[in-house]
Symmetry: C2
Subunit: 347 residues, 2 copies
Amino acid sequence: MMKAGYMPNAGATLKRIAKKSGLSCSTVSRALANHPDVNTKTRQMVKEVANSLGYRPNWAAKSLVRGKSNLVAFIVPGWDMWSTAMYETARETLHQASFMPVFYPTNSHTEWEIELIDFVLTQRPGGIVWLPSAESDIPKLAEVIGASKVPLIVLDRLATGCPGTFVCTDDRRGIATGVAHVVADGRRRVALIAGKHEHQTFQWRQEGFRQAVADAGIPEGDATIVEIAGYRLAEFEPYFNAYEAGKRLLSQSARPTAILGSTDEHAWGALDAARDLGISVPHDLRIIGYGDYIPRAITRVSLSTIVQDRNAIVHQSIHELLDQMNGEYKAENRMIVIPTRLEIRDT
Amino acid sequence: MMKAGYMPNAGATLKRIAKKSGLSCSTVSRALANHPDVNTKTRQMVKEVANSLGYRPNWAAKSLVRGKSNLVAFIVPGWDMWSTAMYETARETLHQASFMPVFYPTNSHTEWEIELIDFVLTQRPGGIVWLPSAESDIPKLAEVIGASKVPLIVLDRLATGCPGTFVCTDDRRGIATGVAHVVADGRRRVALIAGKHEHQTFQWRQEGFRQAVADAGIPEGDATIVEIAGYRLAEFEPYFNAYEAGKRLLSQSARPTAILGSTDEHAWGALDAARDLGISVPHDLRIIGYGDYIPRAITRVSLSTIVQDRNAIVHQSIHELLDQMNGEYKAENRMIVIPTRLEIRDT
DNA sequence: CTGTTAGCGCGTTCAG
DNA sequence: CTGAACGCGCTAACAG
């Protein structure tokens, strides 16, 4: 019995189609599923009846009987254009494999991410692509997802003890490329504005920075790392905090001649700090971001950045996920590293 | 029988909990649903067992037996930050009403939007919030959704024959406010860069413009409307096309001294055209957008714009939707108009 | 090629 | 307060 309010699709169901066309449920089911062994005429007829009734299959029933659904859940930061684009890119491939990508935006609030993942598991998805938000309690969530045995891809983070596949970019080398570039450009006082979260990937970016300045023979005092707090992308916290950090850095007597960000937002904050202090970029200051997910069409300045190759990341992820879903299990904690590419633009 | 690949939650189910705790399914069901007439101790025990088994209810089964699901589907342009923010705002309210908001991003491709809506209906959602993408075939889709009898809110568009509630901003007056402002500022040659789609809401913006310039006594030749094509937000088509249009407009001998956009992207395109032509904004040219959904933190220039009050829109929409879902049906084709507010910033 | 039957996991009667 | 039985809409196994 429908409860109240509305009667979905006027209650068009297999049974009703069966009755109206004088067939059995199974035949109707087979006809609509394009099962081979069903008379072409029958199929035709069934489809017409279904159409006339405005039939739309009941997804819940299908998932229930199958023991799992055809969903592939993208649990990703909602405000991050990176993730939206990723979803977009993944769609076609998944669709061909008759999976339905669904986008579950997180908002850098751990409690919500927990609740969301809980709900997603409730839907028995065929697979999960997870880009943990900066604040999420990765170990705990990883355990939960792990226990559910759903095929899992974790993006841009490392979650030890989590049974999925990790797809990251080469953080250390990425940042190092940026440092090498500005050093080659004659900048000998460099700074990194780094996010203050403990995710492995951000630590690697710091490591890459340290290593690179050491390799370049830059004295310790001339290489600064500023850790800033602030996670909420939606409120642009990383940007605003980086702005403040940038102002402080650039107000020093011996101010840096190059600033790298461990994300694009960080670099952007520094860029605006430079503008407001009247420092000319790139002449007096080089600025390099990391990620390439700020839409250039509306920024009026093209940020130079270490590009994370979205297409490669997504293709690898989806490929890997489909493999996992097909049971072609590869190994525990497989890790796929995607190379980065420095792209020099206006800064 | 689970098919293959994985066994969701190690197959923890009501029955298994029942067996392990020596109770019946129904008791377990009631206990977990916090049904009042169940012994407190029993409930306690059941919950512990459930927990130890890593039980997670099966969403499909629940939806199936209920005849509909607890989903509220947001079918909205994925690249539009407006919609992400909206989803975010709606979340809490819906959650309290024990609905689960789910975000289904569209991409300005009609075929995909059709497919998506088809899928969403398959999930028997409790309600739908729909912001039709620029290219979508509104009448057709409206009919489909209408036939499903799912409570529906349509945002920022008008879909005649569609049985939902419309929530729009006051387009005519909004644009008119913008025109009045620049005229009061002494600008007597004004242009509107308008999207070339036939959605009612964009027509209204054109109407508002025409009326306002007439009211201001501006001669016909000094008021221009440029219709531009290009829908795909993800590729910033509106921006790029507006940029070209802006260049053309501003290269005329008697160039406009104020340009309004019928969206923020349009205004932004004009703004960049002005920059590249060396025209000083706002001194020699005023530029006003519509919408206020370009994130100011990364644009380096704050666009003056006619603000669509997101909060009001969302609150009204969700309120209305919940009413509809509770069966408090109001009228066919109710229309809610949210006032706009001109906000003057850098342009 | 088609019909019959059973059961997916859960909520909901109706009896106790 | 608890249990037994039924059915939601659909697919799959087995007969014919």
